[in-house]
């Protein structure tokens, strides 16, 4: 058994930067690299791509990340765990093998499947968000259960170098290799709770090294342009030390660790994953050295009997249009533009949203009431059943050029299909995970 297991996290979302993972593998002396690339909605969009082309449906950046990382991973003997399989882990594994062959590398790839439970969903299940049957939300596109570390373990035991999953709980990507290396069992809820705390701190990569944190006035962070991603040294007692590669930008301190510990937590006494009901209220953090924070404590209770299922449904189209006004009375002219569009589209949209960017858009009017902006950008947004109807919003904003207030410029217009997400619970005994092995 290892005395220390070192895990790096080189991506915290699908569109994350590519280089930090390469730096981690080259200089981090890692045992494992984790890439967490799957947000709530990402998998529903991936299911749509798979429906069009059954060889697709994995993360759109898979090829670019693998071409960069595969040579480094094999050279340094680092194993990779990632949920970049999205809607199609087996096809993703095939793609990795293809890249490995092209680069003349020998790798063993394991694809973990079983999260796709669309065939089990009747539409009668009640959505956790609103208590109504799922089918009332709209046409269901996808249903993926959050699998846990128990689904990943057989892939680790197979000796695979690269493990590609679909939907798994984010912390499980860290919990699974720790269970594998230290021989921890899921029944040991106390230890799995600690491991989940570590996984949760790591899963957003740069969010614990100064990303989504920096504020030049109160929270300055040096070297943002080459922000390093974190690695963690985990000990057999479940304690850990989080750090990053020397010379990389960013900062790891109590403030970054606390922000990340509480990030997206809806109840710190009961943080639910497929592995455990974790308790964050006994976690302690200690700054050991520069960019080096020790994590102790955390606890857990036996894993839930149900798994959360993320259900994607068709939710129409959103049309948007934007136009800028500047100089004297910019806000007044922007408001005239917004009100004009509202009147022109009154009968076509049940709801139109008007944002005055620079004054009141992402925060409510009461907080922006003393705004004195020199420039204002009007944004109009509306939802429709079809792309054509949604496009009307942008068309009307563009028409403000010659049919609106003075001095409007810089129009942009967009139409995007909307995939909504609701959740339901299923009995975990009804799901069955599988591992598919491929070798280059």
């Amino acid at each position: 058994m290892k005395e220390i297991v070192r895990i790096g996290c080189g991506a915290g979302f699908s569109g994350d930067r590519l280089e930090p993972a390469a730096v981690l593998v080259e200089k981090g002396e890692l045992d494992y690299l984790v890439l967490e690339c799957l947000a709530e909605r990402t998998i529903a969009l991936a299911q749509k791509r798979k429906a069009v082309d059954p060889t697709k449906g994995y993360d759109p950046l898979l090829e670019r990340r693998m071409e960069l990382l595969l040579p480094l991973l094999t050279q340094h003997g680092v194993k990779l765990l990632t949920n970049m399989g999205a809607a199609n882990p087996v096809a993703a594994a095939g793609k990795v093998i293809e890249i490995a062959k092209r680069l003349n590398l020998l790798v063993k790839v394991a694809a973990v499947t079983g999260d796709d439970v669309l065939h089990m969903i009747t539409g009668e299940e009640l959505a956790l968000e609103n208590g109504r049957p799922l089918k009332q939300s709209g046409e269901i596109l996808s249903a993926n259960a959050y699998l846990g570390a128990d689904a990943i373990l057989p892939a680790l035991q197979s000796g695979a170098d690269i493990i590609i999953t679909g939907r798994v709980a984010d912390p499980s990507l860290v919990v699974a290799p720790l269970m594998h290396e230290f021989g921890w069992l899921l029944d040991d809820a106390e230890t799995i709770g600690k491991a989940t705390v570590i996984g949760h701190l790591m899963e957003c990569a740069g969010q614990i090294t100064g990303g989504y944190f920096a504020d030049p006035v109160k929270k300055p962070v040096k070297g943002m342009e080459f922000l390093g991603h974190p690695f963690v040294d985990v000990y057999p007692d479940g304690s850990a030390v989080i750090s990053k590669v020397e010379g990389t930008g960013g900062i790891i301190n109590l403030a970054t660790a606390k922000e990340q510990l509480l990030y997206e937590v809806t109840n710190p006494h009961e943080y639910l994953t497929p592995d455990v009901v974790a308790d964050f209220t006994s976690v302690t953090l200690q700054q050991k050295a520069a960019n080096c924070v020790a994590v102790k404590g955390g606890a857990g209770r036996q894993k839930p009997a149900t798994l959360k299922v993320s259900v994607g449904y068709r939710a129409g189209f959103i049309g948007e249009g934007e136009i800028s006004y500047a100089g004297q009375h910019a806000l007044e002219r922007a408001r005239l533009a917004g009100e004009t569009i509202q009147k022109r589209l009154r009968n076509r949209f049940a709801e139109l949203r008007l944002d005055y960017i620079g004054c009141r858009s992402v925060h409510p009017p009461s907080l922006g009431k003393n705004c004195q902006s020199y420039e204002i950008r009007l944004r109009v947004a509306g939802k429709a059943e079809t792309a054509e109807e949604a496009a009307l919003v942008g068309e009307e904003v563009e028409a403000l050029y010659t049919n609106g207030p003075a001095g409007g410029g810089g129009v942009r217009k967009y139409v995007n299909e909307v995939v909504g997400i609701v959740s339901a619970l299923i009995d975990r005994k009804e799901t069955k995970s599988e591992v598919t092995i491929k070798q280059s």
């Binding site: 709530e40 909605r41 956790l128 968000e129 989504y212 944190f213 504020d215 109160k218 929270k219 109590l254 403030a255 606390k258 922000e259 990340q260 510990l261 509480l262 990030y263 997206e264 937590v265 809806t266 109840n267 710190p268 006494h269 964050f280 209220t281 006994s282 976690v283 302690t284 953090l285 404590g297 939710a315 959103i318 709801e351 949203r353 944002d355 960017i357 858009s361 992402v362 925060h363 409510p364 009017p365 009461s366 907080l367 944004r379 947004a381 509306g382 939802k383 909307v418 995939v419 909504g420 997400i421 609701v422 959740s423």
Partner: protein
């Protein structure tokens, strides 16, 4: 004299469906007591009343000297289908930090 939470604390916003989470962490651990006293769930709910339609629950974490506000029905129907620009509510940490508190 009043000051903003921004002057003494930092915050990170998170989302789960239509639920907004806001941490509130003092720069100096000694200010934790002050935050517990001043940043009550009721005051935060009133401050964010245009954003948060549901209840606000406050969790105290003395182990790391931090507070966590969990705000229900706060993201205009949820990340995936709302018309707002910041669908995740990521900017709302700085809305919380606008709250004025006493000493």
């Amino acid at each position: 004299m009043k000051r903003k939470l921004y002057d003494i604390a930092h915050s990170r916003a998170g989302d789960k469906g239509n639920t907004l989470t806001l941490s509130l962490i003092p720069f100096e651990e000694k200010d934790y007591e002050l935050l517990c006293r001043e940043a009550t769930a009721d005051r935060v709910k009133a401050h964010l009343s245009e954003i948060v339609q549901g209840e606000v629950v406050r969790y105290e974490l003395p182990n790391i000297s931090a507070l966590l506000f969990v705000c229900q029905q706060a993201l205009a129907g949820g990340v995936t289908t709302s018309l707002v620009m910041d669908t995740h509510g990521k900017t709302l940490s700085y809305a919380l930090l606008e709250l004025e508190v006493g000493r």
